[in-house]
Amino acid sequence: METPRPYSLLCELTYRCPLQCPYCSNPVDFARYDAELSTAEWERVLTEAASLGVVQAHFSGGEPLLRADLPQIVRCARDLGLYTNLSTGGTLFQETIGAQLREAGLDSLQVSLQDADPKSADRIAGGTPSFEKKKRAAQLAKELGFALTVNVVLHRRNLDRIEEIIVLAEELGAERLELANTQYNGWALKNRAALLPRRAQVESAAAVAEAASIRLKGQMEILYVRPDYFEQYPKACMYGWGRVFLTVTADGSVLPCQTAREIRGLKFENARHSSLDHIWFESETFQKFRGTDWLPEPCRSCPRKEVDFGGCRCQAFLLAGDASVTDPVCSLSPLRGLIENAVAEAESAGDVEWIYRTPAESRRHASSGATG
């Protein structure tokens, strides 16, 4: 079969961030990677991506607004005909930079909120006041004429306020609301005991989100991403490894997904030294889990193998210690018990404190040599 070309590129412009959310999707050891790509290097990455078939560029971080050259990078993407989307925490989004980004041709803006309750939101983001700044950022985005998406990561401590979260997004004039339950990789896995919800929370939130998405049809689109721990089958992670997406990290590593760096033993090539074309088509890592030929049982003989591609490789590595086995979240996996145990613990456990995503915590983790 012919190798598919990617549609979408995630540019993690920096790992620096003023926020410290305990479920951050950056690698736990992000503090190790401090040599960020230059403006010219990002422009080259975008040019190579467009030639490779990419039509959408997502700019994220860390906090991408910490890059002073963001408007220039966005303009480059637009000049290449790419659809551009910015994911920001919002605390640094102000009139001047907003107008510059609008002028540069940014198509879509995504602002993260942590909760609808100000105190809880500030606590989740690391303690310094951020909630009001984020609300102001969302309002400013609308005033500037951006298509606004509000993104909220859901977990044990905010799921019960999903109704209020939806109302808030509505008030802010979001055209799209992403309600994504935490994916338990990286920081979120370290903090799983604090974040994993009870089943009743998950069921009730799903019902509220569904009712709201019917009520708001045509006005605000609601995407509710269910937590895979409570599902029967795994997610179609990245719609398949090396099939639709690629990520370039702050330091230039090219990954099949943003958390793939957690899989020890895989070698990731760098956009500083190799072309995206070469990495996508030729590199060992991108080919390793591409398609379905590599799949083990019970996936190999499963009729769903073209639906979910065996699930998430990072989750397989982090929970089973082997990236090439069926995602343990699958009810057909011999390791599903790992998930059931975690869910059962969450059911009876009280509230646990999380650790924040700080450079100090990251360095501590990197020097201890731990991986999970």
Partner: protein, 92 residues
């Protein structure tokens, strides 16, 4: 399914962009977080949704182009689906 009046003038929402993909030789509809690979007919329809033409005019033009009087249902269905996703704005 909602039926929009023939006099309504549809246009792509600001967040959506129609693109001819040179590499794949396929029409695409781009919007936040998603890419829709269009079939040739859907591309023709959306290319006509410019906020000036009415639905009646769009239907006429497509009937002529495809020499087919039976396009109405499919086109109205497409417009309703995209409007439901907020990708198409149906103006008066």
């Amino acid at each position: 399914m909602s039926t929009f009046p023939d006099a309504a003038k549809p246009r792509l929402a600001a967040k959506a962009r129609l693109k001819w993909d040179e590499i794949r030789q396929k029409p695409l509809l781009l919007f936040p977080e998603e890419v829709l690979v269009l079939n040739p007919t859907a591309y023709e329809v959306l290319a006509l949704c410019d906020g000036r033409r009415t639905i009646g005019e769009i239907l006429q033009s497509l009937k002529k182009k495809f020499n087919n009087d039976a396009v109405d249902g499919d086109v109205r269905d497409l417009l309703a689906r995209l409007a439901g996703k907020g990708l198409l704005v149906i103006g008066d």
